[in-house]
Point group: C2
Chain length 441, copies 2
């Protein structure tokens, strides 16, 4: 069952080879960033094996590209890069998944080229850099971004994942004739493929040998709260830019599939903010569980290295209901996440796609804050908040104790039911147009 979707499989039958097989599978998982599978027959689980191997760390270094092949590809890339008049860089999810952040950072800084991120690539680029230009996702792009990317005569596309939500409903308009794709196991220049070379090594050499490039300016990314309107309602348009002002360096931000995953496109990050999301799978409930894991890692980083990371979850009421009990694990492990629960009466993303007022898009109304003590959190070890107005939100975000994240904090934040981030509306209407087209065909 799992073999076709696993990059390495071990079915442990022999205690003599089990340790080596396990190490092999773990290594492939890390190196390839793809799923693996270990089968553990129930009649072998209590077998003893020799543990000497544990003293030797698994070699997790990426194998170097074949040198001649790598140099060849680098030359091709540089030829096109030097010929381009207004190239741009577009960073996507696989740059993170395949750990090319450092190479990407160096490319962005040294080249000075206008740099954009696809939604899954957000968090990979330092958004305080002068050449950072915002989120590109076809119809759902930040203001000014779409024109700039699509009028470029060369896009250096790093780790692209062209899935539905990541492209705002397949509305990318990026010609392959003006694209160089950098991937974990091949490079593609226009239509020429170069298999067997990993982007990390290629990018490193491109940075080293780049020389002088043509650089035209990109758009300035927005970073404002659109507080022109006189309302106290916390609209999507208000919240996401406001969040960017509140975030700090080193924060770990998790956004759930739903309004959060689209709203975050409007949030400009301080440097060194990590974003965890899985737009690719659209699997609701993921973010709360993932927040538990991230907060646990943050706790360990603080204890072992003195690093201070806040873990901040942004999730919707509908998604939260799927994995709410992960909050119990956070309490049990004394983790200190800040959870923003967007209380907007149901599955907003589904309303946008189909059935704005349909009953199947409603959810049972929980008393969300009451869950925290019900899950066993003790007085003094947590705090909950209700936020219904911009003033209340601003007050909370100015509260030093809140900002210090001393324990688990749960914010129930009310937002209007039929309000959605602009990018989500555009994605939903792209889906509608596509359906209409299919129907007509």
């Amino acid at each position: 069952m799992f073999r076709p979707v696993s990059c390495a499989v071990a079915n442990l039958k022999d205690p003599n080879t089990a340790a080596a097989e396990i190490d092999h599978v773990i290594r492939e998982c890390y190196i390839q960033s793809r799923p693996v599978y270990i089968g553990l027959p129930c009649d072998i689980v209590e077998d003893m094996i020799e543990g000497e191997r544990l003293a030797q760390p698994i070699d997790l270094a990426y194998p170097a590209n074949p040198e001649e092949q790598e140099d060849y590809v680098v030359d091709v890339v540089l030829k096109y890069l030097h010929a381009a008049k207004n190239p741009v860089i577009l960073v996507d999810g696989c740059a993170i998944r395949h750990r090319a952040q450092k190479e990407t950072y160096d490319l962005v800084v040294k080249s000075g080229l206008p740099t954009f991120v696809a939604p899954l690539g957000k968090g990979c680029v330092d958004e305080t850099l002068p050449n950072y230009g915002g989120v590109y996702a076809g119809d759902g792009s930040n203001e000014g971004v779409r024109d700039r990317v699509e009028s470029s005569d060369l896009v250096l596309s790093i780790g692209a994942i062209k899935s539905d939500f990541n492209t705002a409903g397949f509305t990318f308009r990026q010609s392959q004739l003006t694209t160089i794709d950098f991937h974990s196991n091949f490079i593609q220049v226009r239509y020429s493929q170069y298999p067997g070379v990993r982007m990390n090594g290629v990018l490193r050499k491109v940075v080293d040998k780049m020389g002088k490039l043509n650089v035209e300016a990109g758009p300035k990314p927005t970073n404002r709260t659109s507080s022109q309107d006189n309302t106290q309602v916390i609209t999507q348009k208000y919240f996401w830019p406001r969040l960017g002002q509140w975030l700090r360096e080193q924060d770990i931000v998790l956004t759930e599939t739903g309004t959060a995953n689209f709203g975050i496109w409007e949030t400009r990050f301080p440097a060194k903010v990590q974003l965890i999301s899985q737009v690719l799978w659209g699997s609701i409930g993921y973010a709360t569980g993932s927040c538990q894991g991230a907060a646990l890692a943050a706790k360990e980083l603080e204890e072992e290295k003195g690093e201070k990371h806040r873990t901040i979850l942004l999730t919707g009421d509908g998604s939260f209901q799927l994995t709410a009990q992960e909050v119990s694990t956070m309490i049990r492990r004394k983790l200190k996440p800040i959870i923003f629960l967007i209380q907007n009466d149901g599955y907003t993303i589904e309303r946008m796609i189909h059935g704005m007022n349909a009953e199947y898009n409603d959810v049972q109304e929980w008393k969300y804050k009451d869950l925290v003590p019900a899950f066993g959190a003790k007085e003094g070890e947590y705090k909950t908040y209700t936020v219904k107005t911009r003033e209340e939100l601003d007050q909370l975000m100015a509260d030093d104790n809140f900002n210090a994240a001393p324990y688990l904090q749960f914010v129930e934040m009310y937002m209007p039911k039929e309000d959605a981030p602009e990018a989500l509306k555009l994605t939903a209407s792209a889906a509608e147009r596509r359906n209409a087209k299919v129907q007509g065909a």
Copy 2:
């Protein structure tokens, strides 16, 4: 991915055949009681298809066995049955899954043979019948049952599922030389297989043609509360027989993997009690979700046919934490289950198998009752109870309002941490012996 584990697969690509393909897959699912798979490509979801077919019910009747073949098998079965000196009937899960309850009932009543159930078969046989003898599960059998079954010279085994927990850790001692197996797609007499015949038709003819059999008495099943000890503690040994006295005809009982699935072996059911459990998969969290489905069906049966079924869930704290939010759906749909939450401090079944006091067998301590209002249940639409002593349990079970199940009721019942049903202890020690044997080999 799904094809190897599906008995029918449709990947809907053509609106002209989609309706017929869907009907085919649904029919196979019902007839074969096996998983099916329908793929719905996202560019076809909004296609319109002709709906005339909906007026025609899907034919869900089992196809008749080939007559000559069926008669041949029936003759063989009867030959062995008449030759047997002290035959017994053993009913297991596939008798329920493949809807052979009526044929089984008629066989049990007409033959008068001592009749036993495997754990997964519990609920299939009317336990008030004089020839009902209790649960057979190898080492975990009810008192007196094991000897009677294993000394029989012919076991009519209906719908056997010889999985780990269902056989108390593979401790069945039933020779194939003294067994006739009735299955959904074949019959096996000793080592002779008769493929292509369904048990339902064969059992019907066996009942019709059975004539006089040798009938020796079986053991009387126990149905007592072991209240000899002077404690007020609700022990496993006290609770499960006590539950049997409280249950009523027509009740739907759901038991979770854990102490409930083993404890229920000690509960003698009134007639027409349905038991839903999935001992086979041992997948914790199933029972709470399943309870939601069963309670919804019970509600429909009451509204449409005036039938009154109580839905009673017996689950442990550890399992409940996996799918607790299904209680929210019960509230939303105004369902009226009675939920017994066994509060015994963690994964008891796992403690028995490995790590009696290990931290990984503990769970976060929830305020379980507080979840019900936190999930949005309104005052007057639910009731919660705490039960810590036998007296409190007995009082609750004598409470007419409680027994009438007028709304969702949630009972937090405290049981000792290291206490387990006898059958679970025996299963766990069988697993230990098996492991020890493997180790030694």
